[in-house]
Amino acid sequence: MGGWRRELDRFTRDRAATLGLILLLLLVVAAVFAPILSPFPGDVATFHTANRLRPPDAVNWLGTDRMGSDLLSRILFGARITITIAFVAVGSAVVIGVPIGLVAGYYGGWPSNLLMRVSDIFLAVPQIVLAIAIAQTLGPSIENVILALSITYWPFWARLVFAETRSVKNEIFIESAIALGASPLRVMTMHVLPNIASSIIVRTSIGMGATILTAAALGFLGLGAPPPTPEWGRMIAESREFLPEAWWYATAPGIAIFMVVMGFNLLGDGLRDFLDPRIRRGARGK
């Protein structure tokens, strides 16, 4: 059998990373098959006030919310929102930040210094604080949350790639590529980028977890999607006034957030060990 199977075997030997992968597969399955898996798919938009605040039972496995909607169904549909925010926000931050960091790190000089200073200013404030300012200006919606998170997250990637590019740039294989007449674009995309890809991948995984937490906090503060969107952070905010009686109301979305963020963090840690050749050699030596 091919090499990828051996690689998969090597990856799954890390139990924590495998758990992370399983948690994320669950998230994807929940998001893709939400209409099929949900016991009450209609509950995302319709209310049954007669059923409100029912504790978990055989019909509503996770209980119902203040509108009488089935919490399990709402959480499954909420997985779609979580995935969308995480992938689009982190994706666009990577697409903006990585080329900037790459070019700045490769060429150096005052333009790159200026760029890095601008990213320093962004990084001086916690992401959520700037995101609050932007999302509040734009008004509450998922698109605006994504926009706010991308605007505040790209400098992180620019910084990371800048530092990595600077350290790879003086390696002999880059010099030889330049000596062979490779264009700067070719050197950057074919030689520098593949060599710094592993740290970008690892950071992406951990960044997804962090972004989901920030997005949930924005939802909790009322800056996310307006109701009745089944956004997990907003669901927790709605549940606050029903504590301590309706304990299940806050529990279910909180555990959903926890599982997904844990999944991304474990996967990130696992990928770091998996992709870092130094650690690999060390493990074999033991």
Binding site: D120, P126, Q127, I132, L221, L243
Partner: protein
């Protein structure tokens, strides 16, 4: 390094003011229309635009904005009907007290756990601490806050539900309830202040402690495997003394370096955690301002937090150069 930090201090803050200004002006929403509501006539909108200076070119507006920020004139809060600058400075001690207690708690929890975890590497204890530290970073802070509130305030009744203190509290001198109660010599107030701060501080401390555990563990492992520890061991130095004199010192250095980062995590979480516990700091103020769509207050809050973090990072660099002179060159 310190000098370059000091030199960059002012431009960084100025840059932050510019970025926040641009964000709030380039984004295609009309602040005047938001302020006046949907039923305002075009004449009213125009009059208000002139009154607030929005008819001037962007550069003129930016200059005026700088003047306002420097003179402390950040506008009047819709929420409290008082100058925003006054509101923020009155609420800052509450947030500072909370984050300082939280960071102390996080260090007191994180460093011993991290050191023990590294010394007993791969033991059951180490595995448990690592699982807990990963879990601590995966929990939404506002959810953890509600969980602790549910358990300790609502079910067990061992901690107050919210607020900073019972009754009126001690005479305000520093604005820190714990210190002010000590100045007053009021032990009842001191007890009350501690019981109120316990849960919010613990909520903030747990994710921060998880970060510290990870850094400390990695730092200690590096030191244990270093040549100078091997040398000390070969010289017959007792293991306890090696840990105390060499390993801990180096572990502390790596933690101090990270305090700027940890402070950022704390402030991030403070915004939502303060809301859950009704803690009267600047986080709760920001959330109230969001609910009131009080744009000026949120901009002011952003600038204040930015300034706070830049100052903390500067202090961390200064402290760091004293503990670890290697990087100071």
């Amino acid at each position: 390094m310190i000098v370059s930090r000091l030199v960059w201090f002012v431009p960084t803050l100025a840059g932050l003011v510019v970025i926040v200004f641009l964000i709030s002006n380039v984004i295609p929403t009309d602040p005047v229309r938001v302020l006046l509501g949907e039923n305002a006539t075009p004449q009213q909108v125009e009059a208000m635009r002139v009154k607030l200076g929005y008819d001037k070119p962007l550069t003129t507006q930016l200059l005026r904005h700088f003047q306002d920020v420097l003179s402390g004139n950040l506008g009047v809060s819709i929420y409290s009907q008082r100058p925003i600058w006054e509101d923020l400075s009155q609420r800052l001690p509450a947030t500072l007290e909370l984050t300082l207690v939280a960071i102390t708690l996080a260090i007191a929890l994180g460093i011993p756990l991290g050191v023990m975890s590294a010394l007993k590497r791969n033991s059951l204890w180490d595995q448990a601490v690592r699982v807990l530290s990963v879990a601590g970073l995966a929990m939404a802070a506002f959810w953890l806050a509600m969980l602790l509130q549910f358990l300790f305030s609502m079910k067990l009744g061992t901690a107050p539900l919210n607020g900073r203190i019972d009754g009126f509290g001690p005479t305000a001198v520093t604005g820190f309830m714990i210190i002010d109660s000590l100045i007053d010599g009021d032990m009842e107030a001191l007890r009350s202040a501690f019981s109120h701060i316990a849960l919010p501080a613990l909520t903030l401390a747990l994710p921060a402690a998880a970060t510290i555990v990870r850094f400390t563990r990695a730092g200690v492992l590096d030191v244990i495997n270093s040549n100078f520890v091997l040398y000390q061991r070969a010289m017959g130095m007792p293991p306890g003394l090696i840990v105390w004199k060499y390993v801990l010192r180096n572990a502390l250095i790596s933690t101090v370096t990270q305090i700027g980062l940890i402070f950022g995590v704390l402030v991030t979480n403070a915004v939502v955690v303060e809301t859950v516990f009704d803690w009267p700091g600047i986080g709760t103020y920001a959330v109230q301002s969001i609910l009131q769509s009080d744009h000026k207050a949120i901009i002011a809050f952003t600038i204040w937090i930015g300034a706070l973090i830049v100052v903390v990072n500067l202090l961390v660099d200064i402290v760091h150069s004293f503990i670890d002179p290697r990087g100071a060159r």
